[in-house]
């Protein structure tokens, strides 16, 4: 028989490679090719669909602005007890001075103020005013150095004092047109003698060269550098051995420094704005110092972070839970209204002769060809108290002249208009399912002895459930996030949660809260979807035959 090699060794393909490997290779090639084929679509879907949702979810917890803008302060604040009655200590205020100096240069302090203002009303003006006046604090030191010697007034002098000769030579005549600016290089001996000064100057140099892109050589340093120099000299830095430009002036300053007048940062800040003396402001900064916060989500469910963790907001500030409830309830009402109205229409569509059915289909689709705004506004005209419907009812004598119905700017208006607008999304899936149910089923049921009603209820209706399910999911999900129609006809009692989301996205610019509200909406939809899957089964959803 055919020898042992075939039964023992691996089966070989025609070219001698093991069959398994060559099969795997050909399958891999197929997969790669298939993947390449759908790649553009995949990228498109990722960019336009997945990415925005991911971004929204991220924004709803992201809170890096505090720790980014006030890095030293947030670290220094860790030791402070927010439940106590004391303000943070001087070290915190010093860190705040350093942070604010950079933040003001970067013009970040106002956005931080806006962000914290969501949590603590009034904090935005605190940051705005402090930014404007932050220079005043540094000037206490700066003025004394400058009074001592005019040398300290000029940025060039600072650059030559602290930079290496070769860097000074190359940076001296640098202009923007020359391209990249030569990066600041510190003199080793100065750096050893004045470590704090160099650190402060390095911060200033990085910002000037990298972010501002101005010639560092000519820039006058920030107040922070003067403060640092004073601190170095006061810490009895050894400057006696230094030579080079400005060495003499420095030695003179070293002698004068201990006699300088200084201020407490805390007093200086409180002087700028008394908000810095308020414990609540400091608590807000500390609470929201973390990079990620549950604050937006808590806010979205009418809660807040208190000293003892999450707590309910005061009664008069609770709006979102009620809005979510109303949104869900009204979406359900709209979905059921759509089922009730759509079912007979879909049945007619599926059972009328071709010609009539086509005409009816055009009527069903007609709303799609009209602007959403026009349709909604039309309802406004129809439903108002002096509108067509009320006129007809009064004319028919069903409603008294002084008892005209209020059907607009309330929940009734929203339900009527949205049912009309979403009806096609219910009818079409129902129709496409009903179309696939042959009339013989009804006949069979009747021949088995069922009355018209029994035949419908026991045989026809169960087979249309997939269509009802598909339509309901579609309508409910559309309704729960609908914005324009409730905004136009809903008044104050008929608006949905979407109204608040839009408000936070476009008016209050509290994107984090808007994103949190949106994320909750998404989760609610997913939960309902899951529940539907458990109860009815998602395989039972059919959008078409």
């Amino acid at each position: 028989m055919s020898d042992a090699s075939t039964s023992n060794g691996p089966v070989l393909a025609a070219d001698g490679t093991p069959l398994k490997r060559s099969l795997a290779r050909s399958l891999r090639m197929q997969k790669t090719r298939a993947l390449l084929l759908i790649a553009p679509l995949l990228v498109f879907v990722l960019i336009t669909f997945i990415a925005p949702i991911a971004d929204m979810l991220f924004r709803s917890v992201e809170n890096q602005i505090v720790s980014d803008t006030l890095p030293e302060t947030t670290i220094a604040l860790r030791g402070w007890d927010p439940k106590g009655e004391d303000l943070p200590d001087e070290a915190v205020f010093e860190a705040l001075f350093n942070d604010m100096q950079l933040a003001t240069e970067r013009k970040r302090h106002t956005s931080l103020g806006t962000r914290l203002n969501y949590e603590q009303v009034g904090i935005s003006s605190l940051f705005r005013q402090s930014g404007r006046k932050i220079k005043d604090i540094g000037e206490v030191w700066q003025d004394q150095f400058e009074d001592l010697d005019a040398f300290w007034k000029k940025g060039e002098n600072w650059a030559e004092l602290l930079g290496t000769e070769s860097w000074v030579a190359s940076a001296k005549d640098w202009k923007k047109a020359d391209g990249a600016q030569p990066r600041f290089q510190a003199r080793a001996d100065v750096a050893a003698a004045l470590p704090q000064t160099l650190a402060a100057y390095q911060d200033f140099a990085d910002f000037t060269q990298l972010e501002d892109n101005k010639a560092l050589y000519k820039e006058d340093p920030w107040g922070k550098v003067y403060v640092a120099l004073h601190a170095d000299l006061n810490a009895s830095a050894d400057v006696s051995a230094l030579t080079g430009p400005g060495a003499d002036v420095l030695k003179a300053a070293a002698i004068a420094a201990p006699g300088f007048e200084t201020v407490s940062y805390r007093d200086a800040f409180i002087d700028i704005h008394d908000g810095w003396a308020k414990l609540d402001n400091w608590r807000a900064i500390q609470t929201y110092a973390a990079s990620y916060t549950p604050g937006y989500f808590l806010n979205a469910v009418d809660m807040q972070i208190g000293p003892d963790g999450a707590e309910a907001r005061p009664e008069n500030q609770q709006i979102y839970i009620r809005l979510f409830g109303r949104t869900l309830y009204m979406s359900l009402v709209i979905t059921f209204a759509c089922i009730a109205l759509g079912y007979p229409v879909a049945w007619l569509l599926a059972n009328l002769p071709m010609r009539t059915a086509n005409l009816l289909m055009i009527l069903v689709l007609l709303p799609f060809w009209t602007s959403l705004l026009v349709r909604t506004s039309a309802w406004k005209v129809m439903l108002q108290q002096q509108g067509v419907i009320n006129d007809v009812l009064v004319w028919l004598g069903m409603v008294a002249e002084d008892g005209r119905l209020v059907m607009i700017n309330n929940q009734t208006g929203t339900i009527i208009a949205m049912t009309h607008i979403l009806l096609p999304f219910m009818i079409l899936p129902m129709y496409s399912v009903m179309q696939t149910i042959p009339p013989t089923y009804l006949r069979a049921a009747k021949s088995l002895g069922a009355t018209n009603w029994t035949a419908f209820w026991r045989v026809y209706f169960p087979q249309t459930i997939p269509g009802i399910g598909a339509g309901s999911i579609l309508v409910f999900i559309l309704a729960i996030g609908y914005y324009i129609t409730p905004a136009i006809v809903g008044g104050t009692t008929g608006v949905f949660i979407s109204d608040r989301i839009a408000y936070h996205i476009s008016s209050s610019l509290n994107w984090g809260l808007g994103a949190a509200l949106g994320a909750i909406l998404l989760v609610v939809v997913l939960i309902l979807y899951w529940a539907y899957d458990r109860i009815v089964g998602i395989d039972n959803v059919k959008l078409g035959g």
Partner: protein, 389 residues
């Protein structure tokens, strides 16, 4: 299914048919169970789909409506079931007119062409449905469902969904559902069209066996003549909205009353000519090429009339010894010889007809005709039927 069990019902069917002979002879018997009287049907007000239907069936009969597609068979069935109303005429069930009785009160079992098993119910639920709408107690329902499933040998499938069954199994379930509520009349519309040949033959026997065992009356619709011939007590051949002939299968095959039936049932040779003379139950036909042949006049009445004569391939004889000496013979040329195992099929050219077929049994002494051979053919006068042209 083994031979004996298929033969059993077949024989008993034969017996019942003989018993009913008297009723069958004239359709308008007093104890007819199903009766169509002068029934007409039009869907559009312009064309009559059913032109003039008269039919009477005794209790227990298995009647097949056979005819080409579009000849109105389904329409007749639907009128009987109550899903279409007759434009004119009377339909009676058990002596009572049912024109105004809605379908669900007629108590007629029906098997639809595509089975129409409810897809959202299990097999058992499908069968239980007609019993539930009749408000039957649960225990009784279960008993009847089980009996019906056992009857179609599907006892183990009660829990399945129709989609999980093969075509033949669905067919059995559809049949069981039509029978489970003990309908006396069952209508079956082309049930076997979607099945393969072997399964189809098997199901034919099965349906027939069950119908005979239960003694129910069956109206069966098909366009397959073999099916009609093997299953039925009587066959109604439909064409153009009329019953062309209503007769037991053997009569239908051997004594077609017009050329449509002769053409439609079985294989058939035709020759055209004019009646030369009629003598009792034989006549002389002069074919278009001048040759004379013997035939039996069926629906021709006088000499000079044009006629189309019909003769079955297996009744054509080319061995002169087996024919009477005074029989008229025709000269023919062999065109083609086909060996088909049990029979030989020879195509010959005779009297201007190139598609004249002779079938002979494959016996040890049988002659195999060579293509090109010149032969003479003839037949017994009663095997050759002179019909309408």
């Amino acid at each position: 299914m083994n031979i004996s069990s298929t033969l059993g019902p077949k024989l008993s069917a034969q017996a019942t048919r003989q018993k009913r002979g008297a009723i069958l002879a004239d359709g308008s018997s007093q104890d007819a169970f199903v009766e169509f009287e002068r029934v007409q049907k039009s869907y559009d007000g312009e064309n009559l789909v059913v032109k003039d239907l008269n039919l009477a069936m005794p209790r227990g009969e298995f009647l097949t409506m056979l005819g080409p597609s579009g000849s109105g068979k389904t329409t007749c069935l639907m009128m009987l079931a109550g899903f279409e109303t007759a434009t004119h005429g009377d339909i009676r069930l058990g002596g009572e007119s049912i024109n105004n009785i809605p379908p669900h009160k007629r108590g007629i079992g029906m098997v639809f062409q595509n089975y129409a098993l409810f897809p959202h119910m299990t097999v058992a639920e499908n069968l239980s449905f007609p019993l539930e709408v009749r408000k039957m107690a649960k225990s009784e329902r279960e008993k009847k469902v089980k009996r019906a499933l056992d009857m179609v040998q599907m006892g183990a499938f009660g829990g399945r969904r129709p989609a999980q069954l093969s075509g033949g199994q669905q067919q059995r379930i559809a049949l069981a559902r039509a029978l489970v509520f003990e309908a006396e009349l069952v209508l079956i519309d082309e049930p076997l069209g979607a099945l393969d040949k072997q399964l189809r033959e098997h199901m034919q026997f099965e349906i027939k066996r069950i119908a005979d065992n239960l003694g129910i009356t069956v109206v069966y619709v098909t366009h397959d003549q073999t099916e009609a011939l093997t299953m039925s007590d009587r066959v109604a051949v439909f064409d153009d909205g009329r019953i062309q002939q209503l007769a037991p299968p053997d009569l239908l095959y051997e004594a077609p009353e017009n050329s449509f039936v002769a053409q439609f049932i079985g294989e058939n040779n035709t020759l055209e000519g004019v009646i030369e003379q009629i003598k009792g139950d034989t006549c002389l036909v002069k074919l278009d090429n001048g040759d004379l042949i013997d035939a039996k006049p069926v629906n021709v009445t006088k000499a000079g009339e044009r006629t189309r004569v019909s003769i079955r391939p297996e009744r054509v004889e080319f061995n002169k010894d087996r024919l009477s000496p005074d029989a008229h013979l025709l000269k023919a040329t062999v065109k083609e010889f086909i060996y088909m195992g049990d029979i030989f099929r020879t195509r010959i050219s005779v009297a201007g007809n190139d598609d004249f077929i002779i079938k002979t049994r494959n016996a040890p002494d049988q002659v195999r005709l060579e293509p090109g051979a010149e032969i003479e053919i003839g037949w017994l006068a009663q095997d050759c039927r002179a019909l309408d042209a």
